[in-house]
């Protein structure tokens, strides 16, 4: 039996992302993007990746949405009306469609990643010790995430503090 719920969620995810990018008002676009973040988190939850799903929802539906909201409040500019279909947009659309089909065919032929690091070692030829060493340090991800967020905050503060010098 095919579980239909994740397929419906994936379909809704694609539809909501396309709608978010086509809507003219940035605020509506942000709200739809917020729901698409929740949908992707729900897909991860459905397959049992609780940590990844929770992290995805916290990051994208929480932090990134708030950042977008602040930026839209600061700039207050809506997306301009799209111009008529010019040559560049036409060529870009054709190239996008041409790239989509071989990409889809290529990624459907990929071998799945094995479930445990012992199986991954058997598949990739690496020894189990190397992979278990890497796997033991997976909790350092959180530390690096905190470092990255701190670096981003420092970058924002630096930009705002040098604003007068640039102008």
């Amino acid at each position: 039996m095919i579980p239909t719920a994740p397929l419906i969620l994936a379909f809704l995810l694609v539809i909501s992302c396309v709608a978010a990018l086509l809507v003219r008002k940035l605020l509506w676009s942000l709200i739809i993007l917020f729901y698409s973040s929740l949908l992707l988190g729900a897909i991860l939850f459905w397959y049992g990746a609780t940590y990844a799903g929770l992290f995805h929802i916290i990051t994208f539906a929480g932090a990134v949405s708030v950042m977008f909201m602040v930026i839209i409040m600061l700039t207050g500019e809506d997306a301009p009306e799209p111009r008529q279909l010019n040559r560049q947009v036409f060529i870009g659309s054709v190239l996008t469609l041409a790239g989509f089909i071989p990409f889809l065919l290529a990624i459907t032929q990929l071998q799945p990643i094995a479930g445990r690091y012992e199986e991954q070692g058997l598949l990739s030829g690496s020894t189990v010790d190397e992979l278990s060493f890497l796997w033991a340090f997976r909790s350092w991800d959180l530390f690096f995430v905190l470092l990255l967020i701190f670096a981003a905050i420092l970058g924002v503060i630096n930009l705002f503090s040098r604003e007068g010098e640039v102008e």
Binding site: L13, L40, A49, A52, G92, I107
Partner: protein, 102 residues
């Protein structure tokens, strides 16, 4: 198997929709939203690559978490640059910004 193919198809769709938006959007905030949609596609592809009958693999879940962290950081820096550009040029249209530079 059908799940994996469907998720890969959704991932590819998201990636190219985001790419097309980055190529054609006339607003820098919309460009970053396109980047976020591309990131959703990448995360979904990474996750579906690890799906098997036993469920998702720990390795692919770790890769998804790393990708989320990197993407969120890049978006934070990009949004701060957007504010900087808006205060400097008073527009978010990249075509207009390029014209104003000269």
């Amino acid at each position: 198997m059908i799940d994996s193919i469907a998720l890969n198809g959704a991932a590819a769709s998201l990636f190219f929709v985001g790419l097309a938006t980055i190529a054609t959007a006339r607003n820098l905030v919309k460009n970053i939203m396109g980047f976020q949609v591309m990131l959703f596609g990448v995360n979904l592809a990474l996750f579906s690559a690890g799906l098997s009958d036993q469920g998702p693999s720990d390795f692919s879940s770790t890769l998804v978490v790393l990708s989320i962290a990197m993407g969120a950081s890049v978006e934070a820096v990009a949004l701060s640059l957007v504010v900087f550009l808006y205060r400097h040029y008073r527009t978010l249209n990249p075509w207009m910004i390029r014209r104003l530079r000269h």
